[in-house]
Amino acid sequence: MRRPTRSTGAPGSPVGALLFTVAILAATIGSAEAGEAAEAVSIYRVDPDLTSAQFAVRHMGLSMQRGHFGRTRGTIVLDPEAHTGRIDFIVDASSVDTGWGPRDAFLRGEDMFDTVHYPVVRFHSTRLAFDSTRLVAVSGELTMHNVTRPVELHVARLDCGKDPDSGFEGCGAEVDTVIKRSDFGMSYALGIVGDDIGLTFQVTAFRVPHDGEGDPP
């Protein structure tokens, strides 16, 4: 069995460590199958510059306010033939950005994300659902504000191919869900600021080469 990836990222970096874990996981998946099945496993690394985690919330019943988190990272392992895979996605809670400083400071504060104590929002998949070979939904667990709850993600769009500029293989996806912030213990000003939070992830992830022919950007 071949190694599914060469070493990627600095060994000491969180991304590198996460990717290494994922690589071992993928290797384990691969070893359970015939040699060709291992070929079907693709590992993708989320490109933070081309990925955003957006949220939308009703404000005073009058408008929909939106913001995003500027720092994300993650890895995606997909085997569309075997209908398996794994998604790990991490959001830096302190990178919350609504375009208005005082509101960002409030969101980072102890009434909301409390980023001093809970700096990271984390999602990991428990089950991937496919329609034929197309990923359509992801079940998993979201940890936010020190509370872990199950969530169902809907994959609204998934396009894979080669980046015309760089030639790197990658996938782009739009993934969405709605959560209740009160489920995660973030109940400040419910009734004035909505409980339902629409989450939309625009993810671009590049394939980690199997043979070490250069790294994606």
Partner: protein
């Protein structure tokens, strides 16, 4: 005597009429922090990229009985944020918004559309990088109420439209790395003046 009371009645009538007219037309000013225009555009085959403009001003007059009004919005193009600083500098440059030469873009309404007393759409003209073209905004969730914190009367809505940027002469990357269609979404919270 009769003449005098007739004049008084006329004056009273005029006064009532002017009060009614003043009551029917209301003026609002947008709250910039809660009215940030955002855009979406396809990038290569992979992603939909989003960004926003953090600085804008807007004035709205509305007469819900006469079903007319006006909207003037001015957006500071230097406040564009794509969430990638390297891309921001490209977007501010000559091939895109050319902010040194065109620091603002504006929208001025020509026709306001109503369903009953609810605003549902606005026709107007968008001026961007020196080019003025007609656009139609869809207005959803128009409603008025009171800010629960400061008790000031205000209205909210969400305006949206999709434009082709090439019609304004912004053609860089169209058909190659990024799309021509740009979806624009503007949440609106506006205080009554």
């Amino acid at each position: 005597m009769l003449r005098q009371s007739g004049a008084s009645a006329l004056a009273l009538l005029l006064a009532v009429a002017s009060v009614t007219a003043a009551a029917a037309e209301e003026s609002y000013v947008t709250d910039p922090a809660h009215s940030q225009p955002s855009y979406e555009i396809r990038h290569t085959i992979f992603s939909t990229q989003r960004g926003d403009f953090t600085k804008s001003t807007g004035k709205i007059t509305i007469d819900r009985e006469a079903k007319k009004g006006s909207i003037d919005v001015s957006i500071d193009t230097t406040s564009i944020r794509s969430h990638d600083p390297r891309l921001d500098s490209i977007l501010k440059g000559e091939d895109y918004f050319n902010v040194a030469k065109y620091p603002t873009m504006t929208f001025k309404s020509t026709v306001m559309r109503f369903d009953g007393d609810r605003l549902t759409g606005v026709d107007g003209e968008l001026t961007m990088i020196g080019v003025t073209r007609p656009v139609t905004l869809k207005v959803a969730d128009f409603q008025c109420g009171e800010n629960p914190f400061n008790k000031k009367p205000m209205c909210g809505a969400e305006a949206s439209t999709t434009i082709k940027r090439s019609e304004w002469g912004m053609k860089a990357g169209v058909g190659r790395s990024s799309g021509d269609d740009v979806k624009i979404t503007i949440p609106i919270e506006a205080y009554k003046e």
